[in-house]
Amino acid sequence: MRYLPLTDADRREMLSVIGAKSVDDLFKDVPASARLGAKIGGLPDHQGELEVERAFQAFAAKNVSPGTAPFFIGAGAYRHHVPSTVDYMIQRGEFLTSYTPYQPEITQGTLQYLFEFQTQVTLLTGMDVANASMYDGSTGTAEAVLMANRITRRHKALISGGLHPQYRSIIETTAKWEGFKPVLSKADAEGLEDLIASVDKDTSCVVVQNPSFFGHVRDFTKLAEACHAAGALLIVVVTEVVSLGLLKPPGEMGADIVVCEGQSIGNGLGFGGPYVGLFATRDKYMRQMPGRLVGETVDADGKRGFVLTLSTREQHIRREKATSNICTNAGLCALAFTVHLTLLGEAGFTRLAEINHAKASQLADKVSAIPGVKLLNDSFFNEFTVKLPKPAAPVVEALAAKRILGGLPVSRLIPNDPSVENLLLLAATETATDMGMDPLVAALKEVL
């Protein structure tokens, strides 16, 4: 077996040093009833690299790769071009096969890029401090609600109808089992929601998304003021982080916690994971943050260096009093994010955002010109909602049959709600071309 260096001769010699007759002696603590003499049955034996690769090519052949079809799906995961440098960098073994930097003297590489990552996140979001990443935007949002509950010692979280439906489900699940009360507003496809009147003295936080799940762009400054007047926190979620290249950052609107899905920068679609959660807050809430934090310090020679810090918030020290049970984060995806953003820089990142907005704008014009199709958004970044004259799910299936990945029927994520049955969510990024948009429009005309 190519991964196992020990030879039979090695094994015999090692057993003799140990003083054991066979390896079975080393498993003598396993109860007899659970000892398997032979290998586990019903499973194939080892295979060479060639055979393994073929098996995966066979899986891949049964899928439609977005690179081979007109593609317009978003809804919390966005198809962007990732420069080759990013993937090369994250595959360097010193990054790929290192672990959590418990020994800072020999993990300065990881610690410095995480420090740079934290700084980039604060700049994008307009916040004071950021952690070294969460699993993804969805789990990070639930953690943000828990953090707000801790800070305010309240348990009523108002959840916007513009928040991604799966993020809403995760908050509901967390609430059910961890014991707090979310108040979920109904799906806000038109972008008309105003939660200011709902904030009261029992509210721990309000969770909104910008741009919303349906694509609307909103200013939450007044909502932030209302939250603060009532002693509640405003949590702003961003699922398309590229939008921050163009839009007023949540920090300038008065957000107390900002959570972003960072996948768009550096990380491929990957069928939903692993992604990277960005998590930022105000200085005053620093010690209530979940997750790892990297801080600057000096070494014994007085040279600048970086360490994991404020660890007493974490499970491995505080145990049952920890701010979160999180341990592993998304280190390598954070590296992909930070390498890509460093390549882009100010000029590249803002231009990328401009291109996304322009492409989506073109698509919106083309699609809304189809008879019977109504654009629901007066504002959007790179994603918007249209109302079709018939249910969207079969339309999307019909498009797929023509090898066009033509958006997300909202009913897939919000089932059993007639008000969203005809809604189609469409996204266009810098990867969209006229050669992709025109077939979509033609096919839509055909199937509607």
Binding site: M1, Y3, T7, L15, F27, D29, V30, I40, H46, Q47, E53, A60, N63, V64, S65, P66, P83, R92, E94, S98, T100, E105, I106, T110, F115, A130, Y135, T139, Y167, V217, R218, L244, L247, G270, G272, V276, V298, A300, G302, K303, V307, T309, S324, N325, I326, C327, T328, G331, L332, C333, L335, L344, E346, G348, T350, E354, H357, A358, K359, D378
Partner: protein, 532 residues
């Protein structure tokens, strides 16, 4: 020390002869060890590492919310970016460089075929919400891995979506809470039992779900004290959380009795699967009577540790807990695959949803490639070689170091610090001296139940020659420590690493968590002037 600044690169330079902290070089560099500023100290406006076309001119539809000022991101060209991260990478220790015996973390070889297949077009580039008719192969892949995990553990069900081990713990404990609720016992059973040697995630998870954590004592053999456990079990107990093999590297030899006692008391058995590598392919946890167990794919199944993630933590479930598994899961209808998502009509009462989309697909792909490469025969050999290697290290060091417990260990060897008594050298000093010998230290001061603990997990990935050199290095360090005159030398370690010991007190007292133009780098820092 005279320094001048080359503004075009943001790097320090100057005559630094005699400056110890700069190694007496002009640059402050030392051959392959190159001092590296932060990206914010080297960027220039007008420089960019990508070429993007002019955006098409369109009407702005941003609702008047265009960003007013600049973001503050630095501009670097592509070669600068490549050099920056390459230099940073060279300040890291990694599995690819040598023995990385970090106990409880299973730092095994990360095969590159895993990376290749995860990036195949048609796998790595799929959108999670594509029509299911266009992702049949992806759903089949997830189901194939699920089949392996169920078969290897001897359990009837698996929840694939948790993003990491701790997330899997949350999933498993939520399933237990859901099962208790279905029986009308959730209000009454509020206690979770866990040994003091447990990973910190166990009590953190239980507490988050509103359970009170009660410690159960260990016996002098490092295992759960069965009598004490039985005494602690009662109508108020919801579950036991137990790692097996445990965090002392030992198999819980009375585990069948433990699970029987737990079930007789009406409670559930959560098994922390962090140490599954010791038994994979050789023992099925399902045969031990557990109710659920998370599997860290980045430990046992070689998905890369990536500097702290991403991981994946699928949870296998017993028949009693399976009805509560969270959304989503994969279903086969005839010849087609579909996804059971929120709101779908299903048997059972799912506990909800833990993560967007379908879980850590990229990790599933890598883990399945690893599993298929090994097969049932190879995985059994993995467990045997991992256990053999740990016992070999233990046997070769037991005369000079102090094993915490007698008898064979599983995949990790645990020592206490009694062999360092009166030497003035602590576990921390000993670990830092290992760095100068070219090794990543073992896990230190965990588990908490052993004084000055040193937990060594060599994994199955090291050749015997490399284990022998590692053993030789530890024996040499032990000898040096025991001279009784080497304490200062140990306290000065590491001396040859990119940085020497870092001031963690300073970092925590005055947290600097981001770069700011006003951050004042400390005296003696070669980058000081670069930041100005």
């Amino acid at each position: 020390m005279v320094q001048s600044l080359d503004r075009s690169q943001g790097r320090a330079g100057g005559v630094a002869a005699g400056a110890a902290s700069n190694h007496g070089t002009y640059t402050g560099n030392r051959a392959l060890q190159i001092e590296e500023p932060l990206i914010f100290e080297m960027g220039q406006p007008g420089r960019c590492g990508v070429d993007l076309p002019e955006p098409p001119k369109v009407k702005d539809r941003l609702n008047g919310l265009r960003r007013a000022g600049t973001i503050g991101l630095p501009g670097l060209s592509e070669p600068q970016v490549v050099q920056h991260y390459t230099r940073l990478s060279q300040k890291n220790y990694a599995i690819d460089m040598g023995v990385y015996p970090l106990g409880s973390c299973t730092m095994k070889h990360n095969p590159r075929i895993n990376e290749k297949v995860a990036r195949l077009a048609g796998i790595g580039d799929l959108h999670p919400l594509q029509p299911v008719s266009t992702v049949q192969g992806a759903l089949e892949l997830i189901d194939r891995l699920a089949h392996w995990l169920k078969t290897l553990t001897g359990m009837p069900a698996v929840a694939m979506s948790p993003a990491a081990g701790a997330h899997g713990e949350m999933c498993g404990m939520m399933a237990i809470a859901a099962a208790l609720e279905a029986k009308g016992e959730r209000a009454q059973r509020k206690v979770v039992l866990a040994p003091e040697s447990a990973h910190g995630t166990n009590p953190a998870t239980a507490a988050a779900l509103g359970f009170t954590v009660k410690p159960i004592p260990a016996n002098d053999r490092g295992r759960v004290d069965l009598a004490a456990l039985k005494a602690a079990l009662g109508p108020d107990v919801a579950a036991i959380m137990l790692t097996n093999p445990n965090t002392c590297g030992l198999f819980e030899s009375e585990i069948v009795e433990i699970s029987k006692a737990v079930h007789d008391a009406g409670a559930y058995f959560y098994c922390d699967g962090a140490n599954f590598n010791a038994i994979v392919g050789r023992v099925r946890p399902g045969d031990l009577g557990i109710d659920c167990m998370h599997i860290n794919l980045h430990k046992t199944f070689s998905t890369p540790h990536g500097g702290g993630g991403p991981g994946a933590g699928p949870v296998v479930l017993s028949a009693a807990l399976a009805p509560y598994a969270p959304y989503p899961w994969i279903v086969k209808d005839g010849d087609t695959w579909r996804v059971a998502e929120d709101g779908a009509k299903v048997d059972g009462t799912p506990l909800g949803r833990l993560k967007a989309f379908h879980g850590q697909m990229g990790m599933f792909t890598r883990a399945l490639a690893y599993i298929m490469s090994h097969g049932a025969d190879g995985l059994k050999q993995v467990a045997e070689d991992a256990v053999l290697s740990a016992n070999y290290v233990m046997a070769a060091l037991k005369d000079v170091m102090s094993p915490a417990f007698e008898g064979p260990c599983m995949h990790e060897a645990l020592f206490d610090d009694s062999f360092l008594k009166d030497t003035g050298v602590s576990t921390l000093d000993f670990a830092k001296a290992m760095i100068d010998e070219g090794y990543h230290p073992m896990t230190m001061y965990f588990p908490l139940v052993v004084h000055g603990a040193m937990l060594i997990e060599p994994t199955e990935s090291q050749a015997k020659e490399d284990l022998d050199q590692f053993i030789g290095a530890l024996r040499s360090l032990t000898e040096r420590a025991k001279t009784g005159t080497a304490a200062e030398e140990f306290k000065a370690a590491p001396r040859f690493s990119p940085r020497r010991r870092l001031d963690e007190t300073l970092a925590a007292r005055k947290p600097i968590l981001r770069w700011r133009p006003s951050n004042n780098p400390p005296e003696g820092d070669p980058m000081k002037q670069a930041a100005e």
